[in-house]
């Protein structure tokens, strides 16, 4: 029987799932993903967690608990950085250790160490991740290359204008309606940490809600890396958190570009990097009168109706702005 590897549907699942899945299936393992987040999964995690932390971290605990008795290995890499010259938030580096400390009876954790800050992805960490399934380094490397190819295609699909969540669905073989068929009249950019924005539980399904309000959604994954770097060039110190950089870079890019009517910044309460970066985005948005801006701070106590009301108001405001602009234009025309 194939070895079963569990991947919790949380955190970097929303960024790397296609890569991880292809890699492990290529090596002959069976990949099991936890169910989409529910209230119950969240409660399970909350019971175990010690101290207070952000919502996404609490969710991982729940996902890990539900996976624990279904798999032989849990894949929770020790991620210090996933990109050159940047870090992830400190929680990621300590996560496997914290999980093991709090829940000693978990299945073995594959805590491959990734630190690509200086050298890039090393052959050693790839081998480390794959050695339980196949001892042959060449086959492991080939599996990695295949995974990379699939991952690149996945990223390209996102650039075409679908959200990462939908791209993952498409990767799993589900039907995703093409972008062009939708009736969308507003353009709204949605930025924030991927694991907060794309988890329907933690973001209270904000993407579907915006779609219902006839908005087309733009995310930070849809713009190329160079544009993001371009966006944050004005800052005196380079942002050293990967997702922080993407969020602020994308926000700055969208605020400057003319294609966007509104910008929404989603933050989970107690998120360290975002608590500082919000101030920077707020500042820039305040000086930009053309784009409507709203930041939503979300945690497990956020009520759905509250969010609905705020979104309705936000969209209504954008529509009204458009109307008044049109009227002004007509006046000037006369």
């Amino acid at each position: 029987m194939a070895i079963r590897v569990g991947i919790p549907r949380a955190l970097l699942y929303y960024r790397f799932y296609p890569l991880w899945k292809t890699f492990f299936t290529e090596l002959g393992a069976e990949v099991i993903v936890s169910e989409p987040t529910t209230q119950e999964i969240f409660r399970k995690g909350l019971k175990k967690f010690i101290g207070d932390t952000c919502l996404p971290m609490k969710l991982v605990f729940g996902h890990v608990i539900t996976l624990a008795d279904k798999v032989d290995y849990l894949f929770i890499p020790r991620l210090v950085s996933i990109e050159k010259d940047t870090y992830l938030c400190p929680h990621f580096a300590g996560l496997p250790d914290v999980l093991r400390a709090i829940m000693p009876d978990l299945p073995p954790i594959l805590d491959t160490y990734f630190n690509v800050r200086k050298k890039g992805v090393t052959m050693r960490s790839i081998y480390e991740a794959g050695k339980r399934f196949d001892k042959n380094p060449r086959r492991i490397y080939l599996a990695y290359q295949k995974a990379q190819e699939v991952y690149k295609k996945f990223l390209e699909r996102i650039r075409d204008g679908i959200t990462p969540q939908e791209a993952i669905q498409a990767f799993d073989g589900e039907e995703v309606p093409p972008v062009k068929e939708r009736k969308e009249r507003l353009n709204i950019a949605l930025v924030g940490n991927p694991y907060t924005v794309y988890d329907p539980f933690s973001s209270l399904n904000i993407i579907q809600k915006l779609r219902k309000l006839e908005a087309r959604i733009y995310t930070s994954e849809m713009i190329p890396d160079e544009t993001i770097e371009e966006g944050i060039r004005a800052l005196s110190k380079r942002i050293y958190w990967t997702f922080g950089k993407e969020t602020v870079g994308a926000a700055f890019h969208y605020l400057d570009s003319k294609e966007i009517d509104g910008l929404i910044y989603i933050i989970s309460f107690e998120c360290g990097p975002d608590s500082l970066l919000k101030e920077i985005v707020d500042d820039k948005a305040r000086k930009n009168k053309k784009v409507a801006y709203m930041s939503l701070v979300i945690d497990e106590h956020t009520g759905e109706t509250g969010i609905d009301t705020r979104l309705d108001a936000f969209v209504e405001m954008i529509k009204r702005r458009r109307r008044s602009k049109k009227m002004e234009g007509e006046k000037n025309g006369k």
Binding site: F49, I50, G51, D52, T53, R78, V80, T86, Y87, L88, C89, P90, H91, A93, G94, D97, V98, R100, A101, I102, P104, D111, Y113, L235, S236, K237, I239, Y240, W241, F269, E270, G272, P273, S275, L276, K278, E279, I280, D283, V297
Partner: protein, 363 residues
């Protein structure tokens, strides 16, 4: 140019000494107070960590006093500290303050250039001497603090150690040359020696670990160490300003004073998540092995590295059987609540000690 920098426990002494030897008129922010905290939290992002709010308050008060240059450290991530300078700069500029910002970070060559500018044309030897003096002064001060922690549980009159230490630190802070410092040291030591002590007591041993800023800054941690001392505990801590400064230098990042903590924490935490996480865990383990009675772990609310530490410390507590009290501090932490928690904790430790003694007698 009138430079200033935010307070951080005793580290201010180092900065002041160096800049004074450079011939600068240093404007220190007034002692951290209620007003500092209010000002800081009014203008900071609402759920930023506490040190950011307090240091912002410090800077505003210093600018009000006429400072025109801010000197800040800005190490690189993943802890939020590395981004303080940038963010505070943004906030202060939006408040229309006029000043120049000098940040010292990992780019050593650039740092030296900035130092040369601050030093008003002094040569490298003089700059080196300024640093040597600053470090010596800070070390002397820390030595006094260490002995104050040791003496406090034995004092006969409550508060006499704190009084003597305050006097001693005032004497040391006044000095700005090597010779003055030598004299001041002697005077300070004799002051501490004069405290009447009752050596028959058998105090509890408590380790205070946690995030550097909150451990070092007495106003922010509501003087936890003094309170513990006066409740009859001998306080030890792994976090000291000098060690912190040394471990900030890239050459010492691997071999510096943190090495022993890293080694001790190895079975629990394989990779360093930044901040003082590794020191909190390693320090707790080392103290537990030395037979300490309890550990107080201090962290500011939402501190990223310390939340990781808190999770892992729960396992350490089970494995090594040492009681740990975690205090999460923010601007709303109140004296009375903290005292009650500390008293309960010390009470628990005392009972445990008494029980062990009984067992020993019976055995």
């Amino acid at each position: 140019m009138k430079p200033t920098f935010p307070h951080m426990g005793t580290i201010g002494v180092l900065g002041e000494a160096i800049l004074r030897r450079f011939g600068r008129e240093v404007i220190l922010p007034p002692k951290t107070s209620k007003r500092t905290l209010t000002l800081g939290s009014r203008y900071s992002p609402e759920f930023a960590c506490l040190p950011l709010k307090v240091t912002l308050g410090n800077l505003i008060e210093a600018l009000e006093r006429g400072a025109d240059t801010i000197v800040m450290l800005a190490a690189g991530g993943p802890c939020r500290f590395g981004y303080y300078a940038t963010l505070q700069n943004l906030i202060l500029k939006n408040l229309d303050y006029e000043y120049e910002l000098i940040t010292l970070d990992y780019d050593m060559l650039n740092n030296l250039r900035k130092l040369k500018r601050l030093a008003q044309g002094q040569n490298w030897f003089q700059i080196g001497e300024a640093f040597r003096f600053g470090f010596l002064k800070l070390l002397t001060l820390e030595k006094m603090e260490r002995s104050a922690h040791r003496i406090r549980p034995y004092e006969i009159k409550k508060g006499s150690t704190t009084k003597a230490y305050d006097e001693a630190s005032r004497i040391i802070r006044r000095t700005f040359s090597f010779r003055e410092l030598r004299w001041a040291k002697r005077e300070a030591i004799s002051l501490l020696k004069k405290i009447p002590q009752d050596k028959t007591r058998n105090p509890l041993k408590v380790g205070v670990v946690g995030e550097t800023y909150t451990v070092l800054e007495p106003y922010v941690n509501l003087e936890v160490e003094r309170k513990l001392g006066e409740m009859g505990c001998e306080v030890h801590r792994p976090v000291w300003a000098t060690e912190y400064m040394i471990s900030m230098l890239p050459i010492f990042s691997r071999w510096g004073p943190r090495r022993k903590y890293r080694k001790a924490a190895q079975p629990y935490l394989k990779e360093e998540p930044g901040g003082e996480c590794i020191v909190s865990i390693g320090g707790t383990i080392l103290y537990a092995k030395r037979g300490f009675d309890g550990i107080v772990h201090i962290a500011p609310f939402t501190c990223l590295p310390e939340i990781v530490a808190q999770g892992i410390l729960s396992k350490v507590r089970k494995d090594l059987g040492i009681p740990i009290l975690t205090l999460v501090l923010d601007e709303h932490t109140a004296q009375a609540g903290l005292i009650t928690r500390l008293e309960a904790f010390v009470d628990l430790l005392q009972r445990k000690q008494a029980r062990q003694k009984m067992k020993g007698k019976q055995g």
